[in-house]
């Protein structure tokens, strides 16, 4: 790649810190939320799903001051940058004091991947927190999707760690997805 004279350097990332809630997730402060845990209104077509989980640090201590954002396609595998019929595909949640989070949304469809491959349904995830200097990116796949076996991104992940990217459906129908930042069972994070 040739350097161009007008090349500009990226503005470096810095931590979100512990005190973002009154601006980014301001429900408890009476502020107007840009987005929250409810990603799809009743009017949006698709199968309703709920995802619940906790965020843990390297000692297994709950991370009670993280912000999690998801970005996803609709039931037909299409993205709606501007939102469509109540569906933006974007959700944002602050973890509770116990490290918990949840999203209520619709199950995304399969979508095109690299080199003509098809990607299994998934959510794209950003995690920001005190002690996290550069956003951590991961994905949430779903345990009941047969397409996981041929998903081109899961295929890049060592088999023994692949399970950290797959939300498991409980008997209550809720998908469970814990995020472990470090150590035993550490969630796979991506370099993008």
């Amino acid at each position: 790649m040739t350097e161009r004279k007008d090349d500009l350097g990226l503005t470096p990332s810095q931590t979100i810190g512990p005190f973002f809630a009154y601006a980014l997730t301001p429900r408890a402060y009476g502020g107007v939320e840009l987005a929250n845990e409810q990603v799809a209104t009743e009017a949006v077509a698709g199968e309703r799903i709920s995802i619940r989980g906790h965020v843990y640090d390297g000692d297994g201590v709950p991370v009670g001051d993280a912000m999690i954002e998801i970005w996803q396609a609709d039931a037909d595998g299409r993205f709606h940058a501007q939102g469509n019929a109540g569906f933006t595909g974007f959700g944002r949640a602050e973890t509770t004091a116990e490290g918990g989070y949840h999203f209520d949304t619709i199950r995304p469809g399969a979508l095109p991947g690299p080199n003509g491959a098809q990607q299994a349904p998934h959510l794209t995830v950003s995690l920001f927190a005190r002690g996290v200097l550069t956003r951590l990116a991961t994905r949430i796949y779903f345990s009941d999707e047969t397409g996981n076996e041929t998903d081109p991104v899961l295929a890049l992940v060592p088999a023994e760690r692949r399970g950290t990217l797959i939300a498991k459906r409980g008997t209550d129908g809720v998908f469970r997805f814990d995020i472990r930042l470090q150590g035993e069972g550490e969630t796979v994070f991506f370099d993008m």
Binding site: S13, F19, D57, L181
Partner: protein, 236 residues
């Protein structure tokens, strides 16, 4: 036309494993990151236009009955991509401590006064040329418990989306000449000096309003290049 997202600029970002900043010790992943190809999931992203912003969101000095205490400032600049092209109509969210160095957040225990006339949260959408402007007060420095006698330099948090999931970033803007820079492990996690200096705003006398407010310029460069090579160097 869709932008492309080279990775060569990413080394400007701090490593999550930055042990001088103690909160990273149990929160930085220990396994290597997996290199992800850029699919539609990454090259698309939510777009928040003017509907996300309410009147008055960009003036943090007029969100209450009275005026906040502190040094009134105007923070302005442009949001650009790596080719220097403006990023228009993109949302910026900011938050900060008050002039005494105290956040409204319930968990901030610093024994400095809250200001009933200052919350410290704002939003603005860039214009067609990628320009933005906030009015606020200069935040104070504040102590934290990273190490003995640790103080954060004055800063304003910035959250930006840009055109895709890949361009999403949260950062902090600092003020020129802050004596705390050499002692702040968060600022110093950006190891490249040139990149670190891009986090420091520039005092601007031309934007400073006489008898009213000091102007600070902070331009922000997000990931992304134009997909088609540029024949002629453009300037604007």
């Amino acid at each position: 036309m869709s932008p492309i997202y080279p990775r060569d600029g990413l080394n400007a970002h701090p490593l999550n494993a930055s042990p001088e900043y103690k909160s990273t010790l149990k929160r930085a992943p220990s396994q290597p990151l997996i290199l992800l190809p850029h699919t539609l999931s990454e090259t698309s992203g939510p777009v928040f236009g003017h509907v996300a912003v309410q009147a008055g969101d960009s003036d943090l000095t007029r969100q209450h009955e009275g005026e906040p205490l502190g040094e009134r400032i105007i923070v302005f600049g442009r949001v650009l991509d790596e080719d220097g092209r403006p990023v228009p109509h993109t949302l910026i969210e900011i938050w900060q401590a008050n002039a005494a160095g105290r956040y409204v957040h319930v968990r901030d225990q610093h024994p400095a006064p809250l200001d009933p006339n200052f919350t410290g949260a704002g939003r603005v959408v860039t214009d067609a040329e990628g320009r933005y402007r906030f009015t606020t007060v200069k935040p104070g420095a504040y102590p934290w418990r990273n190490h003995h006698n640790a103080w954060r330099p004055a800063h304003i948090h910035f959250s930006l989306f840009g055109p895709s999931f890949l361009s999403r970033v949260i950062t902090q803007m600092y003020f020129p000449g802050d004596p705390l820079f050499p002692f702040d492990p968060i600022f110093q996690t950006v190891t490249d000096e040139k990149a670190r200096n891009r986090l420091i705003s520039r005092f601007d006398l031309a934007t400073t309003e006489p008898e009213w407010a000091l102007g600070y310029q902070f331009d922000i460069v997000l990931r992304g290049r134009n997909a088609t090579p540029i024949e002629e160097p453009h300037d604007d």
